[in-house]
Amino acid sequence: MPRKTYRQAINEALDCEMARDENVIVIGEDVAGGAGGSGEDDAYGGVLGVTKGLVGKYGRARVIDTPITESAIMGAAAGAASTGLRPVAELMFVDFLGVCFDQIFNQAAKFRYMFGGKARTPLVIRSMIGAGMSAAAQHSQALHPIFTHIPGLKVVMPSNAYDAKGLLIQAIRDDDPVIFLEHKALYDTQAEVPDEAYAIPFGEAEFVTEGDDVTIVAFSAMVARAKAVAEDMEKEGIEVELIDPRTTSPLDEEAILESVERTGRLVVVDEGSPRCGMAADIAALVASKGFAHLKAPVAMVTPPHTPVPFAPNLEAAYLPSNERIAAAVRSVLGETVPAE
């Protein structure tokens, strides 16, 4: 099986679906590369090269460069989706959400509901999340909880290249607005990815490791960190069950509750801010529906409630580290943890 990067996997998903369905279009800033300028066409293929090659294959009518106005991109995409196209709109950095929030949460997310279930809005919004690249406070946030909060939006957070392709294909085929969040630290990570098209259903968690001692739920780039911790713990005979929900909305509650029923211990690792975030959400889920099985308080590993620091050393301290994840696992196991 060929190994491919997260970036290639996303590109292949777009390519597969654009080839299969002529209604699929791509719209965003620089997705074709330098429209209107004197430069070379498709020089970049998006700021991170994800859409490279598509304009050559599918043409300007289906790979549409836009001015730098997120409100126009999202408004145009929501309108196009409501007329039957399947737009994949790019909101480059998720941090820019603020200027196009109405188009997403008050328009696209509401169409089906407001029009008596008769409207379909097959819209995908791709966007980059996450810290770790020294991109500073305005380009490093993990805002998935904000989308997850809005009924009518589906929210996808692939943690690896294989999932990225299958989840994006599913997102494009879905008839509701889907927010597809790519972690910028993952673009060069590799996994075995089939050449053929495949779809991974939403709301089905992946059991990354299986174990009966502790459940860890982690999202996006945090999955790899939690996996490294799980592998270290295994050497000590501690069996961690690592769950990657893959989508925060819908959320595979059953997988989490079933796992905690066996382990009785839960650690949630998320890169979002701690208040009203996924860690708090899952802790509340288990406290309300799985309390009887808990043998220890739920541990949440998140950044502190501050903007993402620019200084690399502070940014590294901000993100949930392997050490903090391991300490949380030990704490729910009742082991004494040395002070940090």
């Binding site: 099986m1 294989y162 299958g166 089939p194 053929e196 098209a197 495949y198 779809a199 991974i200 259903p201 089905e204 059991f207 299986e210």
Partner: protein
Amino acid sequence: MADLTALTMPKWGLSMEEGTLASWHLAEGDAVSEGAEIADIETSKLLNTLEARSPGTLLRLVAQEGETLPCGALIAVLGEAGTDAEAVEAFIASFEAVEPDATEAGEASAPAFRTAEVDGMTLRYAEAGTGAETVLLLHGFGGDSGNWMFVTDDLASDYRTVALDLPGHGGSDKDLPGSGDLDDIAGLVRGFIEAGALGAVHLVGHSFGGAVAERIAGACEVRSLTLIAPLLPGCALNRAYIADFTEAKRKRELREVLTRLVADADAISRDMVEDVLRYKRLDGVAAALEQLGKVAGQIANETPRPLALPALAIWGEADRIIPPPGTDTLGERAERHLVAGAGHLPHLEAAAETARLIRRNIAGSA
């Protein structure tokens, strides 16, 4: 120079890169006869037993139990009893591991995936060996050419082996030919035999692939027919398995379904479950499985009839998918052979014995 033979980490199937020496069956100094069980090797998919290809004395166990080594790495040294220890040391020191994939073209057992275009469809197959006679292996419902990895490793030393991915499976197109019934599929495989100029082949078919093989054997010239737990008219097919395999979407569900295939549930690894789940997500697979499941049910509903060609029918004693029929219902054209300690997949669970039986049937046809 003493006559010493290197025993190396085998390469079972195209995806195997390394194996773990789970346990030695023999100790240093033990005499080894051809076919003797030497060690259990664990791949990421399954545990299999390594058997001796030639007799001798086990002079040195190089690999430790629990050790994971790349394919082609030295695991033991075989030679004449009483060989000088220094000669053995020198042999070990000078041994250079050869990754079986990297061997020169024409090397007997270097397997490779190839594709063929037949009636507008792309079919993938794994080919190994360069013998004058060709053995064509057809997997079962939901399987692929990789199911034959242990058996082809053995057969390829004397035969050219071609393990085909049936349409809807593996790396072949996921559409089915025609209306997707047994005749359409058998016709496509005949087209594959003709397109590849394979000539009269030795046919080996497992389960649904057994039904395809039997249908082909009735329609064109084949040298021998070996059926492994074949799906034959009137057989007691476990229909719940077909439905549950087709339906299963989650790993836990699918693992439970897959354990019904084997006598020892531990034989189903996490990787194997993951591979099947990934296969099932590919575009077109769900529709193909649904159609093939229907065809399988129809075949089981038919009235038993004599086989198109005399065949060796191999069954795992603990088969829960198509339980071994009585010799009376199987008909006199089939010689039934039961394999102990195996379920529906004797070619994976008791690979060496199954390979020996296939060889015997092939030799008997000469």
